[in-house]
């Protein structure tokens, strides 16, 4: 009796797992045979299928310029493994803020990124959507303030066809509305800590928060860009009290 119940439970869990598996492709996730790791290590485990979803829309929330810079750095780090050797990315915004030569520090050839600067938000949206439809691009980064559900849905439909990965940086959004994007990130800077008590500033360190993940587990991580790859900070480092409270 107990055995049959457990078997039933097992089969129930199986059924649910199977259902979830069959739902995922319908929601835009696609299994790909090749390794889709972008070097984020633990963070990738938060996503369905335990891999960083490519061919999807990632949304980044930035409260101020400093966190926008941190977000740019984080995205650049992810791009470096997305673009491999020959990939090209498009960076679409309404003004040129990125200092191209600095991207080299994140392992990207800055000449492989094409910057598109258009007048207003509406044009940015048009450009991003057109770019997301274009096959053969590694990633599209779009900077905008607001992203409504309809637009995000259009983006998602575009990438499902083309398998381009989209990064939407939302600077100072008016409201955090529901969108169709696969994940919502928030990157904030953390104090850098040099390992051998040397003076000066060490590698950039960020607090990476996954506020929302579709079919995944949100969470918060601390990582560092060591010049070539992301490194997870696992040990508790002595942080100022105020900051400790803030990052939780």
């Amino acid at each position: 009796m107990l055995k049959t119940k457990s078997r039933m439970l097992l089969s129930k869990a199986d059924i649910i797992a199977q259902l979830q598996k069959s739902i995922l492709p319908l929601q835009g996730f696609k299994y790909s045979a090749q390794n889709t790791s972008v070097g984020l290590g633990l963070i990738e485990k938060a996503f369905p299928n335990y891999s960083f979803p490519l061919g999807a829309i990632h949304e980044f929330i930035c409260a101020d310029t400093e966190s926008a810079a941190a977000t740019d750095g984080f995205i650049a780090g992810v791009l470096s493994s997305l673009m491999h050797k020959s990939g090209v990315s498009l960076w679409i915004s309404s003004s040129q803020k990125i200092f191209a030569p600095s991207l080299k520090c994140f392992g990207i050839q800055p000449d492989k990124i094409i910057f598109v600067n258009v007048q207003n938000q509406k044009d940015v949206l048009w450009c991003v959507e057109e770019a997301l439809k274009c096959e053969g691009i590694a990633a599209v980064i779009g900077e905008m303030n607001d992203l409504n559900f309809t637009v995000s849905r259009r983006f998602q439909l575009a990438v499902e066809q083309s398998r381009v990965t989209g990064f939407i940086i939302r600077n100072n959004p008016r409201q955090l509305n529901t969108t169709a994007s696969i994940a919502r990130w928030q990157i904030t800077s953390l104090s850098s800590i040099s390992h051998d008590d040397m003076p000066g500033i060490s590698f950039p360190r960020w607090n990476v928060e996954l506020l929302k993940v579709r079919n995944g587990k949100p969470g918060s991580w601390e990582i560092e860009w060591s010049g070539r790859k992301f490194i997870h900070i696992t040990h508790i480092v002595p942080l100022p009290r105020e900051q400790q409270r803030k990052t939780g």
Partner: protein, 499 residues
């Protein structure tokens, strides 16, 4: 097949025009005059006046002494050019290649055109009689070279059609002026008793060059057909041009789109066959009211993909004002470059900058927002941050030097550095705190200074001492002090944000 040229010489171009305008001038002597050095000079005289020995260059008072009833009209200096241009465009009915011979002539490249009128004789007769019916007295000649045609038109007595390769026999008895020489050379030739081209043709070239310069040899060669002569046609011939007339005037965007699709199909099929791609194209719409509307597109890579080209045009169709309707569409490919088919196959598989989809996407962006909205940066050999990168001129321009990553550089750079208030210990310590946009940042860690000097050959000004600082919230900034402490004119700026 040898070339055939027709020279049209309008002997009384301007007076003929005045006669056309005012029929009362037909039977009376009249001249055109303009002031020169305080006198009125005759600039053109009609046939009747010329028969009374009134010639161009005479003073009007003298002319009036010959014929007291002489009519004198004001000349219009720009008239000749305007008339010739109009006549040249009219002459396109005889050949697509018409050029203006300055002052009073037209050159028609009649190669392969004359047989449409039956024969060369009929062709020439048709031109002359039609121009005559318009009121223009014209002398026309046909020959294998422009030089000979010019000579026969101006100085020939009979037989205005020179047979193939008969230039030298036709020129023998003509005076040397017919070779379009300078005034001085002609005078010298006559003083030497060389009053016929026949005398010159047989002479040694070195002797001619020594006495009259290289120009005479060039003109002789041009007339005899040993050297080619280049002229500029009035309407440049577009090798890739297609026309689509419509029976009913078209007023809708859909209609224009259909016309455009049809034209693109023809042009692209031809381009594909010739393995060429289009770089610049113009789509012209001729309206019923005689006005013309046009839209232009450009591509980053030569393309004969008509769907892509149509998309580029489609973005601009809405700017066309059809008004009462469009009855003729013309598509011109102004710039065409060769495409290699293997290359194209490569593009479709690679995901680099050579990707065809990418260049088509960028074409659409530049079509909608202008090419200056798209940037691709290459490293420039400068330390000054604003000059450390440059715009790539094309999508596949290669790096001339490597990107540098030996120094910390901010991921976001302010286009113009912003002033900040800073408290810093002298002389060269990093700031202790700074105030930016009203917020006080306490600096906990810092790197620097990194001194970057002005490039004096490019710009005058003070050097910058850059500090890479981190505040207590872990936010990282790029600050600099412009100038020395000792200068008393130093200022602190924020220039960027690190990741």
């Amino acid at each position: 097949m040898s070339k055939r040229f027709v020279m049209l010489w309008f002997r009384y171009l301007r007076t003929d025009w005045f006669t056309r305008r005012q029929s009362r001038l037909r039977d009376i002597p009249f001249v055109l005059s303009s002031p020169d050095h305080g006198r009125m000079m005759v600039t053109a005289a009609n046939t009747i006046a010329q028969s009374h020995h009134i010639n161009v260059g005479m003073v009007v008072a003298d002319a009036r002494a010959i014929i007291p009833s002489l009519e004198i009209l004001d000349d219009r200096p720009e008239l000749s050019d305007k008339l010739l241009k109009g006549l040249a465009e009219w002459c396109i009915r005889y050949t697509p290649f018409v050029a203006i011979d300055p002052a009073d002539g037209l050159i028609l490249d009649a190669t392969g055109c004359a047989h449409l009128w039956g024969s060369e004789k009929l062709y020439l007769e048709d031109i002359v009689s039609r121009l005559k019916s318009l009121g223009y007295n014209v002398r026309a000649a046909m020959a294998d070279t422009m030089g000979t045609a010019w000579a026969i038109a101006h100085y020939g007595k009979q037989n205005f059609i020179v047979e193939c390769n008969q230039q030298s026999t036709a020129l023998l008895s003509l005076p040397p002026e017919c070779l379009r020489l300078e005034y001085e050379s002609v005078g010298r030739l006559h003083t030497l008793g060389l009053s016929k081209v026949g005398n010159i043709i047989g002479m040694q070239r070195s002797a001619l060059r020594r006495r009259f310069g290289g120009h005479i040899l060039q003109r002789l060669d041009q007339a005899l057909g040993n050297k080619d002569e280049i002229i500029q046609p009035v309407q440049p011939i577009e090798p890739y041009q297609e026309r689509l007339p419509s029976l009913e005037p078209i007023v809708t965007a859909t209609g224009i789109g259909i016309a455009l699709e049809k034209l693109l199909e023809i042009v692209c099929t031809r381009l594909q066959q010739e393995q060429k791609g289009l770089r610049v194209a113009i789509f012209k719409c001729y309206r019923v009211d005689g006005r013309m509307e046009k839209i232009e597109i450009g591509t980053n890579r030569p393309s004969y993909n008509r769907h892509h080209l149509f998309k580029l045009f489609e973005l601009k169709i809405e700017t066309i004002e059809p008004d009462l309707g469009i009855d003729l569409f013309i598509l011109e490919a102004q710039k065409v470059e060769p495409v290699s088919p293997i290359q194209e196959k490569l593009w479709q598989t690679t995901d680099g900058l050579e990707n065809l989809h990418l260049s088509e996407l960028l074409d659409r962006f530049s079509g909608k927002y202008g090419a200056k909205s798209i940037h691709r940066f290459l490293p420039a050999e400068h330390y000054w941050p604003e000059r450390s990168f440059k715009q790539a001129l094309s999508i596949d321009e290669k790096l001339s030097s490597e990107w540098k990553d030996d120094r910390p550089r901010p991921v976001q750079l302010l286009p113009i550095p912003e002033r900040i208030e800073v408290m810093a210990p002298v002389p060269d310590y990093p700031p202790m705190n700074f105030r930016y946009k009203g917020k006080l940042h306490k600096v906990t860690k810092a790197d620097g200074p990194e001194r970057i000097e002005q490039e004096w050959w490019l710009q005058k000004g003070q050097h910058r001492d850059y500090y890479y600082v981190e505040d207590e919230e872990g936010k990282r900034y790029w600050l600099f002090r412009s100038g020395h402490y000792s200068d008393k004119f130093y200022q602190w700026f924020i220039h960027g944000f690190f990741a």
